[in-house]
């Protein structure tokens, strides 16, 4: 665990730095995958930027809406850099909607774009695990197993290391499959499914889970539902790709229409 690094008078928060590195590396890999699938790498990276930007603003507004008195007493707090005053669920929903709207506006086909984002998602998941290793968050239950680690006053399951190990496996798999991806969305579905499976497994060893009745862990229920949805949806997307469903077209709508227009012009000239 190494949450902070003091460089002179500056205290660098390493978990935050790991997350930023994860976003940056994830966008790099997404851009490369986009080019491989015949999409504009820049536009796919912009999808992430729009998602993150709008998500961050919405998360702050969502949090402020929950505590109107606090923010009416101090309106400038809306512009503070404190990540503790964000509503993650509002941010997630707004970010996904903004990313989708940007993609639509720029004529990015949905499923190839999702496949382009898959390596980025897997990379970010690895760095979330690294951030947990550094901060000591997402810690495990006490254990007597020989590989337990001393943390927060007990010998615990090293759940942060389980997380890093398994998500790295997912990333390696996505990297391998990415070369063969056809842009039908199944690479993205597989990535989401595998990450959900990792969460379902690792959460079982966590010592800080939010629980429902009878000790059932909320994150496991969510991961289980996501995993089932992926298993259910996968054959449909696969079949639609082989039937030539419009959302599986790898060529961006804008580029396709430009090519079509150029073709028409050439034909007119030749006549």
């Amino acid at each position: 665990m190494l949450p902070y690094l003091n460089i002179g008078p500056v205290m660098v928060q390493l978990p935050g730095l790991a997350l930023l590195l994860g976003v940056w590396l994830g966008m790099e890999l997404a851009a490369r995958q986009a080019v491989r699938l015949g999409l504009s790498g820049e536009r796919v990276v912009n999808v992430v930027f729009w998602g993150l930007g709008v998500g961050a603003v919405a998360a702050r507004l969502g949090y402020a809406a929950r505590y109107p008195d606090a923010f009416l007493a101090s309106p400038l707090s809306l512009f503070s850099l404190n990540p503790q005053t964000l509503d993650p669920w509002v941010g997630l929903v707004a970010g996904v909607v903004a990313a989708w709207a940007y993609g639509q506006r720029r004529g990015l086909p949905l499923r190839p774009t999702l496949d382009a984002l898959a390596p980025g998602l897997a990379t970010f998941a690895v760095f979330v695990g690294v951030a947990h290793v550094l901060s000591g968050d997402a810690y495990g239950m006490p254990t007597s197993l020989p590989w337990g680690i001393e943390l927060w006053g007990a010998k615990r399951h090293p759940t942060q290391f389980y997380e890093v190990l398994l998500t790295t496996g997912v990333l390696a798999w996505v990297g391998e499959q990415g070369r063969k991806a056809r842009g039908d969305g199944t690479l993205f579905l597989s990535t989401v499914g595998l990450l959900a499976a990792v969460r379902l497994f690792v959460e079982g060893f966590r010592g800080d889970s939010v629980t429902l009745s009878y000790g059932i862990r909320v994150a496991q229920v969510v991961a289980w539902v996501v995993l089932l949805a992926v298993v259910w949806l996968y054959p449909f997307w696969r079949a639609q790709a082989s039937e030539g469903h419009p959302t599986t077209s790898a060529a961006p709508r804008g580029a396709a229409s430009r090519r079509k227009a150029r073709g028409a012009k050439t034909r007119r000239k030749s006549r």
Partner: protein, 186 residues
Amino acid sequence: MLTFAPRSRTHWALLAVVALVGLGWMALTRAPVEKTTAGPPPAPKQGFSAPDFTLQTLDGQQITLHALRGKVVVINFWATWCSPCKAEMPAMQQVYEAYRTQGLEILAITVERDTAAIEAFVQQYGLTFPILLDSETMAARQYQVHGTPTTFFVDRQGVIRWVVVGGPMSEGLLRSKVETLLKEAP
């Protein structure tokens, strides 16, 4: 026509296997229900009991964290030379004045030894909450403080609910966290 039924027997079987294995794993790894009423063990981490300490204030009184059980406590580690600490002090004072009568206590802990500098700082910012002296760094070590400011929000049961490392904290952050904890039953 689009149909949403599973496409084949294999698809059905796969769904069933994933559903059952998932349910089984969830049942097998249910979180253990606490068998004691002692509460979580002490550690400087969200969800754990706030480690106890007794420190002397700038005006010579002794304050023990345990004695404040039943109140919402904000423990802030700070230093006179730390810029974010200076920036967040007015917000802390505002929040202290607004919520003190409702059960809020702010403990501002410094590891500095120069009491004259500390007194000048307190005067300059008009601070009325207790300033605790931790020149032996006992509390700072207990709370694994690596830099200032570092702030712990402790609920009425003595459990750490949020940890904010770095700063400055906005007044909105302070008010929202304190309001949440004050609304909880004693």
